[in-house]
Symmetry: C2
Subunit: 441 residues, 2 copies
């Protein structure tokens, strides 16, 4: 008689647990029941009798916690590659903002989000934090695709596609939270103020107040590029971090995205208030926005997660590429090859991202009691041979396409590269039709 | 009666020709006969009757010239991920050099090269320029795998694994050229002086003289990091470029690899003498070596090709990742998002690399009369949807794993991701056995 019937067992493979002690278990065993990890241990230790509805052979694989993408604008996959290599303001004002004004609607957001989730699952992401308009459609898509999401409804003082009337903004915010607050652990609602330069002090404060009342995360772009500093200093007589601090919107339920131009004083404020940072190196490289001082932030104890940003500025959602870039860019900028080790970067992409999103009690590592968000990377491939060091191989050589199987909340969403929750041809066709409209206008 | 019997026809797909006028042909047609491209045109134009031994359906694909990796040390795949995130001198002196002294032999070079070629073919490279010891074994592997190679025998003044006696160096060089000079167009022999700091003026000059006599390329690492400048200035009272110029070894059959710390005067010398440059951004980022002023070099008319460097310092041979990094790193370093457009980078990875290797009359673009080195990228995938701009998609979103089929010199070496010239399980097993020895010592 088995001591426990499992839903899924992964037997064999190398468990890179990302636990606090960085435990790596060769020939591992993971038991999953009711969406939770119930056992992790070496496969050859005496394991009490068990049975499982499904047993997955992990041999030849690295078993890793699912990757956490802490900043996306998923529906922007519809604009992927539409306008590249342009000056920032020309890109925004002549291409992205007009395309958004014309084409962003609920259907586009849902269709883009589904395609984006296909791409994310196929490249190892199991949890994302998205910020856009019509965010309910993103949350609906996440439920349909079986992905774990922090869905942040966007706010700005210009007329947004989903909320043209500013006066009704806070009522819409209330409705958004009420709709999604009971969908834990798969959906976590949050608020996203676009930036200190597109949101007035009133909006920044009102949205933060509502976020505090609802007990949810509050996100904002911050210090993406140098122009922002000039704009805010001219408008408010202080730099953007000080501006937000004086408004009282910074605390440990606030996430600042980018932070490419932090001063030491800014970092002190972030560290003191407990604000976390989402680092999006590839987007900032491509837009020539700047490079966040991540090594110094980590040294000061600031939570930093990794993110891809939207596909208009990256142009993909592959967290493996993002890890590779994160590990390399800080080294060359500082001319110090010891910065941002593979292990540090892998932490940022897993448990660090989970901590940033306040989900680290639930995900981010393979440990008993956590939700079963697990990916399996096929290491039996030429570009992953030989294998001396798992952390190094995952960051510097593995690619999204090497993820073979993905489990989210104890459900297999991809097996042997086949998506089980998404009709991929339909998802691509729907976005291609949207793209045809975008081109023709 | 067909006007011509082709060996292979690719019908359909988007031809990104990389011709001088950047022609892109929708619904294209490529005819291949005796290793050569005999026809390229739109598929729906009136094509004279033809027959082909093999017809490949190109629909849903971008058809691109095979990528040219202008700098590799292929056998170093055996050291992939062995030692990362370390200070440069510790990495070299405590890890790489001792491992090379112990483990580099003809068998290791051949086995590493075959595994590396599997990785390269699977990620779209069709031509490479390799520089290592026992380089004949790399050339033999290239012949066996059906890859096009510039094989550069390495020279240095320390005892190299394959040529411990300095006195016999030039005789060995002669033998190397004589062995390989008749293997065009698949193998092109070349010489590689490791660097100005590991090669004496006498070696630099002797090897260049022999290269000139043989009419072959002469490569050297140059200005990879700042220490080299100090070393050479201390030793010779001038900077490394001036040092090589004064020795008379710089001309349009010389390739300088890295060039991260070129001054304006250095660039003038390279432009005046016709020296080309191999740019290896990912390796230089990871080693924190520096970033070459590539946009400025291109503006001055210097030939620049793209390369991955060896797998101890990258850690992969994927030219798609290299293109992505090349397009992004210069933008952020210069805070100018218009630098290094996708098209510029794609040129560097194809026709530019071919030009650097003096092979542009033969490869680097899909044009009638050139050798048929062609790759097909499957764009019918979520991360490549929608498709507004081929250049942008190839550089910023495509991955090596998206290459479906690869043709080198008119022979199909990979079809539907299956390697046809390499026994992949055996290649991985052989390198894994070498890695076990490396670990155990």
């Amino acid at each position: 008689m088995p001591d426990k019937e499992m839903d899924i067992v992964i037997a064999g493979g190398t468990l890179v647990t990302m636990s606090a002690d960085a435990e790596i278990i060769e020939n591992g065993f993971v038991g999953i029941k009711d969406g939770l990890i119930t056992r992790t241990r070496p496969n050859d230790e005496k394991i009490p009798a068990w049975s499982a509805k499904e047993t997955i052979d992990g041999s030849g694989c690295i078993i890793l916690p699912g990757l956490v993408n802490t900043h996306t604008h998923l529906p922007m996959v519809c604009f992927r590659g539409m306008a590249d290599d342009l000056p920032l303001m020309e890109w925004l004002n002549n291409h992205i903002f007009p395309a958004e004004a014309k084409h962003v609607n609920k259907e586009m957001v849902y269709a883009g989000a589904v395609l984006a989730m296909a791409e994310m699952i196929l490249s190892g992401t199991t949890t994302f934090c998205d910020a856009y308009f019509f965010e309910s459609a993103v949350a609906e898509a996440a439920l349909a695709c079986g992905m774990r999401a922090v869905a942040a409804q966007g706010f700005a003082d210009f007329a947004t596609p989903d909320n043209p009337k500013y006066e009704k903004m806070m009522a819409a915010a209330d409705r958004f939270v009420n709709r999604w607050k009971s969908f834990a652990p798969m959906i976590t609602p949050a608020f996203f103020c676009h930036s200190p330069y597109t949101c007035s002090p009133k909006t920044l404060v009102n949205v933060k107040t509502a976020a505090r009342e609802a007990g949810i995360l509050y996100l904002t772009h911050l210090l993406e590029n140098q122009d922002e500093i000039k704009t805010i200093e001219k408008r408010y007589g202080k730099n953007p971090v000080r501006h937000l601090y004086d408004l009282g919107v910074l605390d440990d339920w606030s996430i600042a995205v980018h932070c490419n131009w932090l001063t030491k004083e800014d970092m002190e404020i972030l560290a003191d208030t407990g604000v976390g940072v989402s680092h999006n190196p590839e987007s900032s490289m491509k837009l020539a926005a700047g490079i966040a001082p991540v090594a110094e932030m980590l040294r000061r104890g600031i939570n930093v997660g990794l993110g891809t940003d939207g596909c208009a500025s990256n142009n993909d959602l592959d967290m493996f590429r993002e890890m590779d870039s994160a590990a390399k860019i800080h080294k060359v900028i500082s001319l110090n090859p010891t910065l941002m080790s593979a292990q540090t970067v892998l932490q940022m992409a897993t448990i660090g991202g989970a901590r940033l999103l306040n989900l680290d009690n639930m995900i981010g590592s393979i440990e008993e009691g956590k939700r079963a968000d697990i990916i399996m990377i096929d290491v039996n491939q030429p570009h992953l041979t030989p294998l001396y060091n798992c952390h190094s191989q995952l960051v510097y050589a593995a690619r999204g396409a090497d993820v073979k199987t993905s489990i989210i909340n104890g459900k297999i969403v991809m097996n042997n590269r086949k998506l089980l929750t998404i009709d991929l041809p339909k998802a691509m066709e729907t976005v291609n039709r949207i793209a045809e409209k975008i081109i023709s206008q």
